[in-house]
Subunit: 286 residues, 2 copies
Amino acid sequence: MTDRVLAEGTLIGDRLAVHTQTTKPLKLDQAILEYQKRGIRGISVWKEALEGFSAADADAMIRDHGLSVPALVRGGFFCAATQAERQQRIDDNRRLIEIASILNAQMLVLVVGAIPGVALEVQRGWVQDGVAALTSDAKAANVKIAIEPLHPMYAGDKSCVNRIAEANAICDSVNDPIVGVAVDVYHTWWDPDLETQIETLGRHNRLFAFHLCDWRVPTRDLLTDRALMGDGCIPISRILNCVEAAGFRGWHEVEIFSTDHWSSDQGCFLDQIISRYERCYQTSTR
Amino acid sequence: MTDRVLAEGTLIGDRLAVHTQTTKPLKLDQAILEYQKRGIRGISVWKEALEGFSAADADAMIRDHGLSVPALVRGGFFCAATQAERQQRIDDNRRLIEIASILNAQMLVLVVGAIPGVALEVQRGWVQDGVAALTSDAKAANVKIAIEPLHPMYAGDKSCVNRIAEANAICDSVNDPIVGVAVDVYHTWWDPDLETQIETLGRHNRLFAFHLCDWRVPTRDLLTDRALMGDGCIPISRILNCVEAAGFRGWHEVEIFSTDHWSSDQGCFLDQIISRYERCYQTSTR
């Protein structure tokens, strides 16, 4: 990685993090080694990556290699048909907050969930209730909660929060500084209100996370056809400038789900991620 | 089809139309026969369905069978890299307006287009210029122009207009009563502002068309996995009530692209369309 110095005196590499799901074929211990070897200092841990590892062991491995954990991914999934199931989901999130705390993760990222057959605004009410129920646990554990709006194509079955505006409205209602928003360029790039919404999040100190990948043209699959930065149509540098202008100084987390990239050599893929990430800066105005 | 009478004294069947693309395996003459046989009185004609038929012959066939044409589908595609190409696209739309006029179509539906690498708001400017350039032709031909917002998952390559709000903003700018909006439940159902936006369209007499299908859960393909009404998660009856409350009295156009349904018997599929369409009313509050 280059040592080019950013405006704030930090190096480019200081802020690059990769989600374990991006390199899904690597086990957690392999991922830690491969990231560390390349100077990647942040690893966002998917709960699936913890299979076969205790949270304490994972934490020790990660710290021994000088890495930090921006986020545990993914909690949420508050939407279910019955009150009992919804309570179960909240309890599941409590356990994830404990795990995030053991991992020294800055935050737990929430994919809020959605089920067919119930009005989206009703489901957003469930999400608000669920998030509100978690704030005291989150504060006690010193783990932030980041609501991640998902692309509208997931409104049927994955997330009833599809724009930053609705995530921000839930933050308004819950009104606790432990709750904020994760902005992923993949989910939000199309939104005509994106830049004003990012400014709003920044003003309220709610811009907790920034996720990077690209939108392939054409996109061949709704779930696993995300592109490497620069291989799609998202104006990444522009959005990067926008989040920085809104005061964001957190990790730049690369989160790519791609059957194409998963079937390639993961070391080469990580090298590509680094060079494309650097290019996001070179083409930015900062 | 049942003869149940609606509030306004019309029959359910009076307002049902089907897009030729819904029954893509049928040639235009077959589609006309199959629709007519079942009491479907509206046929929205895709330009692809005109292959092998002159517009005048198509018009004669359609009228001879007592059918009407809500729309010619699809014009638009204003977004292109060069000014010369964009002018070419406008000229293509002029020819489509002529064809729509020959078909006695009420409107030409526009899918506005999108290209990677250009800011979406810049592209929406091109769309606005393109639409404005067509208004005098449209008025002379007595053919309305309906801008159809497409789902945000098409922002990379098919449409830079992804919400009713942006379609309405273009109408505001062009400011001509010949220009309005086509609302398709598939593209818009997820929008938290859907109901207020439909009201706005109604207030400005810009709600030109209403398209029906459903969102399959899970959706397996971005283009050709639309569902029959009732087989997905879209609150169709609620949206139907909303457009009627906004003063819409036009056709209810069924537009389903589905490899599954295209591979089935098209007569049976049409029978299913009719029964599912009737059920949209039975579960509505009207």
